[in-house]
């Protein structure tokens, strides 16, 4: 019987983390073999998180729905190119979703498109460092409140430049211009903000 003091119970969380990451990779492998059911499961697992991210960037729900479909269609087409040694499913999906949503805002308001976002959208180009990030949808949903709390503890001026860059797709120069602050200050705030978030995550989420 799994009692509250059993080892199985104490190790539960660790097991869940490891298993969910593995499950997602298995789903992706099944998608690469043409399994619609696997895509359906991946969608059920991630759509709320991905759609939430897209809606944070695109206010129009029709645009957001279209981008959501594009993201999962790309997963369907490119699942065979996914290399688990170079990244994880979570990072691939959120990077792809953000990239496409930002592109959509630019297709309406801008004519250029940054190379960086395009390259980031491909799994084979993700850094080898990604393999250290054991992230997946279930964990991120579980962590959401914690992460929101941590972000709130970062100085507001740092939060602001991070949000303008990540969710609105502004470049450093555009942020400097919009906030009427020197470019060097924008760079410093981005770096300090991200490092602070990393430091707090390391403290809060350590097993």
């Amino acid at each position: 019987m799994p009692g509250p003091a059993s080892k199985r119970y104490r190790d539960w969380r660790t097991d869940v983390q490891a298993r969910t990451s593995s499950v997602e990779v298995e789903l992706l492998e099944a998608i690469a073999r043409g399994s619609e059911e696997a895509l359906s499961r991946l969608y059920d697992r991630y759509s709320r998180l991905v759609y939430g991210l897209i809606r944070a960037i695109l206010k129009d729900p029709r645009d957001a729905e279209e981008i959501l479909q594009e993201v999962f269609l790309q997963i369907w087409k490119d699942a065979g190119r996914f290399d688990r040694r170079k990244g994880n499913v979570y990072s691939w999906l959120v990077t792809l979703a953000r990239s496409r949503a930002i592109d959509r805002t630019r297709s309406k308001n801008y004519t250029r498109r940054r190379e960086m976002e395009t390259t980031l959208a491909h799994p084979e180009d993700q850094s080898a460092a990604s393999q250290t990030s054991q992230l997946d949808a279930v964990l991120m949903i579980e962590r959401a409140d914690t992460v929101r709390g941590l972000l709130a503890r970062i100085p507001s001026e740092q939060q602001k430049v991070m949000r303008l860059a990540y969710f609105l797709g502004h470049t450093q120069s555009e942020i400097a211009s919009q906030l009427a602050i020197p470019l060097g200050t924008v760079k410093t705030r981005m770096r300090q903000g991200l490092m602070a978030l990393h430091g707090m995550l390391a403290q809060e989420l350590k097993p």
């Binding site: 509250p4 869940v16 850094s127």
Partner: protein, 267 residues
């Protein structure tokens, strides 16, 4: 830290936030190609932080039709294009030239598609309307239950993860601790056999798991909501987990080994 490492971190942060462009973008890509272990470590750490940013925005349910459209698009994408079909059609109509066959077929096809599409659209409109009314009625009832709970002064929300028996499942328990009422929302759990039931367990410090109720699930295609009155007599502050198992129809006195959803909590 060297100037090179310092510069790498600065560019890396901007790159991960998607804010790098032009000369600095090329500079960063050059540095990344030549990165030493210390730089790669810094990259991994900052990337880990940046990947948490999506968690700072609220989760949102996509429109219910979105998944259906996706799966239709997937099926369309999977269809193989036909090879050299004009010659075959020309033979059907006794035509010598594939171009003529193409024109004839195109016209007939357009007519058929037009008529078929109109019929399908009308039929779908009626079906969609019926389905939407049913869905909205269900949502309204569930919404009322959730709203009632959320109006309470003391509400806890617990997210349940998929476990061994159903790793793709997930759930949400919204618990009005003031009035001992809870709503359980579950997704992606398989339907139960006729003689069995899902059972929700409450784990607390120094006690055996307590049953909070049993329920059936017969419609795995949709999210399911279950309402619990007199939800658990266990002192909230001692609770450290929730578990959903599959048990016999009347429920069990202690959890078996078929674990479906679970959550580790600390109130």
């Amino acid at each position: 830290m060297s100037n090179r490492h310092d510069r790498f971190q600065e560019l890396c942060s901007a790159w991960l936030l998607g804010a790098l462009e032009g000369e600095e973008l090329r500079e960063f890509e050059g540095l990344l190609e030549q990165a030493d272990p210390e730089m790669l470590k810094a990259f991994g750490e900052l990337e880990h932080a940046a990947l948490h940013l999506p968690a700072t925005v609220p989760l949102q349910d996509p429109p219910s039709r979105a998944k259906e459209r996706l799966m239709e698009a997937v099926r369309s994408a999977s269809t193989e294009p036909r090879q050299d079909w004009t010659t075959t059609v020309a033979a059907w109509f006794g035509l010598d030239r594939p171009r003529t066959a193409l024109a004839v077929t195109g016209t007939l096809f357009a007519l058929l598609v037009g008529l078929g599409l109109a019929a399908v659209l009308m039929l779908r409109a009626f079906e969609d309307a019926e389905e939407r009314v049913a869905v909205l009625a269900g949502k309204l009832e569930r919404g009322d239950q959730v709203l009632e709970i959320l109006q309470s002064k003391e509400v806890e929300v617990v997210l349940l993860n998929g476990l061994d028996a159903s790793p793709q499942g997930y759930g949400k328990l919204i618990w009005d601790t003031e009035n001992s009422v809870a709503v359980l929302q579950i997704t992606n759990l398989p339907p139960v056999p006729a003689d069995r039931r899902y059972q929700l367990w409450v784990y607390a410090d120094d006690t055996k798991p307590m049953s909070a109720g049993v329920f059936a699930l017969n419609d795995p295609e949709h999210e399911a909501f279950f309402h619990f009155e007199n939800f658990t007599s266990v002192e909230k502050n001692t609770i450290n987990g929730f578990l959903i198992t599959l048990e016999q129809e009347d429920g069990a006195s202690e959890p078996g080994d078929e674990w479906y959803l679970g959550a580790y909590v600390s109130f």
